[in-house]
């Protein structure tokens, strides 16, 4: 079993996945992304923030080479990713194995007869040896080892998501893209996921619209504004202090607050989901 090694993060870290001047219009008419450029470096943990409908899911799908942007380029380790280039089996195999996307709806990803088959799907396609050992290892890592013979749809929402994670991680990807992974999780599962992701030496980009969770998911923040621009790209702590930016991105709200007899109003977030 290959051991995943920690890579050095920082200015020296090699760029892994990039978007260059990406524009995207859904159906050719509805603008979804405008002038988006970003670079994910090896080992970096980043968070993509934005209110609902700001285009976060679309951005992830473009990064995963599933949707070709209306304009702009997607680059993975100096290889340009386009539908045409992905037709080449070698690039396809490498890209799909190394850049993984966890969909917001785990049901969309599950279709095999048992949890074992689900996790084994990728390795079987690769034709690697010792599939059983790999599947068992990753099933244990995420905590679904007891469910290997059950069909995936019989599991709870949180368990399904773990199966999806295991199915992606069994291929030892270099980049993990996660679309609102905590949106439908209960607090205990959310805690588990945060710790688990932090322990993985993988480049991650996680989307969320929950501001209070964001710093747990990464130390770099990218914010998609309602105008479909990337309005912030930098350290997350600095963002959290910038009320103006947060309001502009519709990530915080203002409403009347009641504390006992006092009623006031200010911009804030709630610390629960």
């Amino acid at each position: 079993m290959t051991e995943m090694r920690y890579r050095i993060v920082g200015a020296d870290a090699p760029p892994m996945l990039q978007l260059v001047d990406v524009q995207h219009r859904y159906g050719g008419k509805v603008e979804v992304l405008r002038d988006v450029s970003l670079t994910l470096h090896a080992g970096e943990k980043s968070v993509l923030l934005g209110c609902n409908g700001s285009g976060k899911s679309t951005l992830l799908k473009i990064l995963n080479g599933l949707i070709a942007p209306t304009a702009g380029r997607v680059i993975y380790q100096n290889e340009e990713i386009t539908p045409a280039r992905l037709k080449a089996p070698a690039l396809h195999r490498r890209f799909r194995g190394e850049v993984a996307l966890l969909f917001q709806n785990p049901d969309a990803m599950l279709f095999n007869p048992t949890v074992f088959d689900e996790i084994a799907f990728g390795p079987r396609q690769l034709g690697v040896p010792d599939i059983e050992a790999r599947v068992h290892h990753w099933a244990e890592q995420v905590g679904v080892g007891a469910h290997l013979t059950r069909p995936p749809f019989a599991l709870s929402g949180g368990e399904k998501q773990k199966v999806c994670l295991a199915a992606l991680l069994v291929l030892e990807p270099k980049v993990l893209l996660l679309d609102e992974p905590t949106a439908s999780l209960d607090p205990r599962s959310t805690g588990w996921l945060i710790d688990f992701l932090a322990s993985l030496p993988v480049t991650t980009l996680t989307t969320t619209h929950n501001l209070s969770l964001a710093p747990e998911l990464g130390n770099r923040a990218l914010v998609l504004g309602e105008d479909h621009h990337l309005i912030y790209d930098g350290p997350i702590q600095a963002l959290l202090g910038d009320m103006e930016k947060l309001t502009a991105a519709n990530l915080v709200h203002t409403h009347r607050h009641r504390h006992g007899n006092i009623e006031h109003q200010h911009t804030h977030v709630h610390d629960w989901q």
């Binding site: 799908k61 995963n64 599933l66 949707i67 089996p89 396809h92 195999r93 799909r96 194995g97 993984a100 996307l101 969909f103 917001q104 709806n105 049901d107 969309a108 990803m109 599950l110 279709f111 095999n112 007869p113 799907f121 990728g122 396609q125 690769l126 749809f153 199915a167 992606l168 291929l171």
Partner: protein
Amino acid sequence: MNRDRAALFAYLAAVLAASWLHDPVWLAAGLAVTLLAAGGAASSLLRRSVLTVLAFNSVISLSYAALAWMQHIMPWETLLRINLRVVLLTSLTFLFIARVNLFRALDFSQNLTYALGLAYSQALTFRRAHEDFRLALASRSLKRPRLIDRYRASAAAAAWFIEKALHAATQSAQALRSRGFFHD
């Protein structure tokens, strides 16, 4: 009779009329009138109509031309007539959809409007979800999935939609009841 219902009747009348015109000249005139009614959107309307029917009509037209050549008959008037009629009817439908609010047109029946409206909004949600199922398989596949894998994925999607539809139906029935829609 509200404006949209009148428009619906006009549309249906136009469809009937187009079904009884057989002279290509009249059909072309009808198409011209339709495009005029479209105003500024005329060229994109025409383009959309032609593109929509292009595949099917090309096959039919080419096959018919071949058949006619073998039987030594001239196919031109027939081909012109058929293709003009198809483009005219398709354009009429696109114009109707763009201009008319079907739900207002059908508001003589609360049941029909409701059933159609709810079905439509659910259909849109399902369409987006279906796209996710398709993309998820593409995202996870390192090489072209086997036939059985694609069937399993399709079956899983189908069953998911059935379950969601059942759930949605139960929910809307409860919601409607609580809003007093049913007089029971």
